[in-house]
């Protein structure tokens, strides 16, 4: 594979370097020039974290073979604040609080820069349209758009430069004040290093061999051919685990790599550390794994039936966790109710899709301390588990939490850190693993898909007399956070309502699907989706306004939850009032309006999503002609 020659002007400096013909511009910028402000969020042009100016035109560097950069002038996010002084847009992002995890932000700043270059007077809708190629998962877009509008107005002289300065507040006075984030400058400039941006001298690159089967016995793994390949420094399988294998947030049922059998498509089976990622990939292809496929189960109801395939010996009924809650006498409550309504609700698996795919760097320090740098959301627990897995005293295991480019619960699991530790120990060199987006989606936790049967007994005046809720969740192949998710789903399942008779059962079930785990709200979403949807249906049946039925049943100050927690202050009444006001809610039962209603299409509600904001002036002109 002969190298190609790249001569280009990058951030104002001439470069002349060799590159591999298969490299993309993003690889060249990040790996060869260490310009890591350009992030790789998806590698498929979907997210915009890698945008750079090529001859003054913004493009996605993950979609560009490096050969196209030959002779070009390239400006990356690093060029915007080259001397350390933030550009107006970067200052506006800082001021507006338009950075949270920060992983999408360099790309957002670049797209905003391009948008205001294309039209310095772009209105909010046009800004949104021109930033359409960039995804953010945590900031929430509003502040990003606010920041672009602020920068536009400062650039156009409609606002003074002072508008970019921090608002004054007294020393130590933060609550209710607009306080700027300390780490925002590092994020808007792309200077902040996430785990995948970090390098060490002598560092090796890790790739993971993953299971193509949902359920199979591993008959044999032959790594000999991979071991002898030039450039391969270490190959590991479950056999390399020196201590007691197994991790999880509640139950340690998941081995670092599949041990004896695989339980889901995408489960790690072996890993390779090599001089470069391509060599590591080729070594994976040389590992021979013989599988004996086993019957698999993909539906939690099927998994609960007698005779279903069993995933884990310790759980012959495939139940990861059952959480029951009992208050009062539910059957009596139904019998005494004026109306009993039963419905079924389901929710699907959801991927967190944080913009930073999992990545980690590990090394053994001069004192023999196995050190893992990764965006782990749970480093202390990981440290304890890893010490047991690699049979070292806790003082010889160190976890460093790198900036988390979005987590939402999805980085609580020690999915890959164990492999990094083993490879660092085996090779005695620094090793780095960076997931692809596809790998992240295939191998890490999802929100639990759920199916809930909810039965509610109510009095004619709207009071809830009894609630019975049974939720079955697909926990996937391993326990991860399932137990905690089932617990919180049960605790919060009946909602913030005073109900005398309650029966809640939540079940997390093992299946051969991708494991489910922690995800924002941690189980509350699934049960409350059922409870709140149900309340609307019941309101309709009783001819009540949905806000009214909630007020009738709301827990009040000093009330007791159905898990016997005494509440001091309950803010529900305030929340309902604020929601009712903000939505411009038209009072009445859900079915009281017929085909039209007065609270839609108001001037302050968002219009339907469309494109073409940049033609708005043109259309007005056409109308005038």
């Amino acid at each position: 594979m002969p190298d190609i020659r790249i001569e280009a002007t990058i951030n104002g400096r001439k470069i002349a370097r060799a590159a591999k013909p298969h490299q993309r511009l993003i690889d060249f910028l990040r790996d060869d020039l260490n310009l890591t402000g350009n992030k790789e969020g998806c590698g498929a042009g979907e997210c915009g974290t890698c945008s750079v100016f090529v001859d003054g035109v913004l493009m996605k560097s993950c979609l560009m073979p490096v050969a196209k950069a030959h002779g070009a002038t390239i400006d990356t996010v690093e060029s915007l604040a080259k001397t350390g002084e933030l550009s107006v847009l970067q200052q506006a992002f800082h001021k507006a609080g338009a950075s949270q995890c920060g992983y999408c932000i360099p790309g957002m700043v670049m797209a905003a820069t391009a948008a205001l270059r294309a039209n310095p007077f772009a209105d909010r809708e046009e800004i949104k349209e021109r930033l359409g190629g960039n995804i953010c998962r945590c900031t929430g877009y509003q502040k990003i758009i606010d920041a672009v509008e602020l920068a536009r107005d400062v650039q156009n002289g409609r606002l003074p430069a002072a508008a970019l300065a921090e608002e004054e507040h007294a020393e130590g006075d933060f609550i209710g004040k607009n306080v700027r984030r300390i780490d925002a400058p590092s994020k808007v400039t792309g200077r902040l290093k996430y785990a995948g941006d970090m390098t060490m001298p002598g560092m090796l690159h890790v790739q993971v061999l993953r299971s193509p089967h949902p359920h199979a016995r591993i008959v044999s793994i032959d790594t000999t051919a991979a071991e002898v390949m030039a450039g391969v420094e270490g190959v590991i399988t479950a056999a390399d685990v020196p201590g007691q294998d197994g991790f999880g947030v509640f139950v340690n049922d998941q081995p670092v790599m599949a041990r004896g059998k695989v339980r889901y498509v995408g489960e790690a089976v072996a890993a390779v550390a090599a001089e470069d990622p391509l060599t590591a990939k080729r070594a994976l292809a040389a590992i021979k794994v013989v599988y004996e496929p086993l019957p698999a189960v993909f539906d939690p109801f099927d998994a609960m039936r007698p005779g279903a395939p069993v995933l884990h010996d310790y759980a012959p009924d495939n139940i990861t966790k059952h959480i029951p809650i009992r208050v009062g006498d539910v059957e009596k409550g139904f019998a005494e109710s004026d109306l009993v309504v039963e419905e079924n609700y389901s929710t699907q698996a959801i991927e967190h899709a944080y913009l930073e795919p999992e990545a980690g760097l590990a090394y053994v320090d001069p004192d023999g301390v196995v050190t893992i740098v990764s965006p782990s959301q749970n480093i202390t627990h990981h440290r304890h588990m890893l010490a047991r897995i690699i049979a070292k005293p806790i003082s010889k295991v160190r976890f460093i939490m790198s900036p988390v480019g979005g987590g939402f619960g999805g980085k609580e699991d020690m999915i890959y850190q164990g492999m990094l530790a083993l490879l660092a120990m085996k090779t005695q060199r620094p090793v780095r693993l960076v997931f692809t987006r596809e790998e992240s989606i295939a191998s890490t936790a999802k929100r639990h898909p759920s199916r809930t049967t909810l039965r509610m007994g109510l009095m004619r005046d709207g009071r809830i007399n009894a609630l019975a809720l049974k939720m079955i969740c697909d926990g996937g192949a391993y326990g991860l956070s399932t137990e905690g998710v089932m617990r919180k789903a049960a605790i919060l399942g009946a909602g913030p309502y005073a109900i005398p008779n309650v029966r809640v059962d939540t079940y997390g079930i093992y299946t051969n699907n991708t494991p489910s785990g922690a995800f924002r709200s941690f189980g509350a979403l699934q049960t409350q989706f059922a409870t709140e949807s149900h309340l609307d249906i019941c309101a309709e049946r009783l001819g009540l306004d949905p806000f009214a039925i909630r007020r009738i049943n709301a827990l009040r100050d000093g009330g007791m939850t159905h898990t016997k927690q005494k509440l001091g202050k309950v803010s529900l009444a305030r929340v309902l009032e604020a929601a009712e006001k903000a939505s411009g809610w038209e009072a009445g039962a859900p079915n009281s309006r017929g085909g039209t209603r007065g609270d839609l299409d108001r001037v302050d509600t968002r219009p339907p999503v469309s494109l073409g904001a940049r033609f708005a002036g043109e259309d007005k002109q056409e109308a005038a002609e």
């Binding site: 002969p2 498929a44 979609l63």
Partner: protein, 306 residues
Amino acid sequence: MLICDEYITPSSLADAFAAMTRHRGRYRVVAGCTDTLPWAREGRAGDVEIPVLIDVSRIPELIARRVDDKRVRLGAATPVQRFLDVPELARALPAGPRCAVWFADDQIREQATVGGNIVNASPAADVTPCLIAHDAEVELARSENGAVARRRMSLTDFVQGPGRTALQEGELLTAIECDALPAYGGSFEKVGHRRSLVISVVCLAALVKLDAQGRRVEDARLSIAGIGPKPLRLSEVENFLRGAPLDTGRLEQAAEMPVALVASRTRQEYRRDVVRGFMLRGLVNAAKRAGADPAALSAELETAYA
């Protein structure tokens, strides 16, 4: 991951054909690469080893364009963004800017090429219906005894089905030629799962030319994609509208005509609803941009579909 041993960027058509001959059976032609790179990833083609990539995006002839009031000639490697930012092109292809604004995003449009969208032959291609409505022809070139031999065919015939075209081994799509229709009002309607970076579930290009009073349809051009294996020209509907008065009833009848053509593998019922709505919206928007008499269309229709 896309792995290659050699990446060739020819600077002339002759060099490109020489490279194609030299590496026969071992190469793939690329231009913007915005489809090829995502294709070579897990879940689609996976890791792909192609010994030689031949990048035609810098061949002068492939990025040249000629536009006048009668005809448009576009080099096949013209980036889609030019539909939006070249005023004379926007004037000659009235649905072009709105087609482009729905195509991927501002950044990808700078790389993705018109020819690439055509050659990919996706049933949901956005650029293809836009050009079919202009009676587009494709120009195909090959090397024959050291000279460049060319042939032409209509774009409708060139695209044969999902991923299938009439392009032959050793042949390159070099240019697209089509009618310039500056007197027409244009619209492009598209729906997908999100706003930017989305593949069309249905998309429709509509062009309407009206008489001086804005009350009679002198000509209509309609092409739709996403409802079957390849983009379609809606000639029957065009004939039904041509010469007819511009009125709500006629447009509603026209909107019903292509509903029966929906032959996609999935979501047929949804697509039928979309086709009906898009036909009305596309025709109303195009007619308005063509200078429709405001009295010609019912206010109800305008608010519902504008």
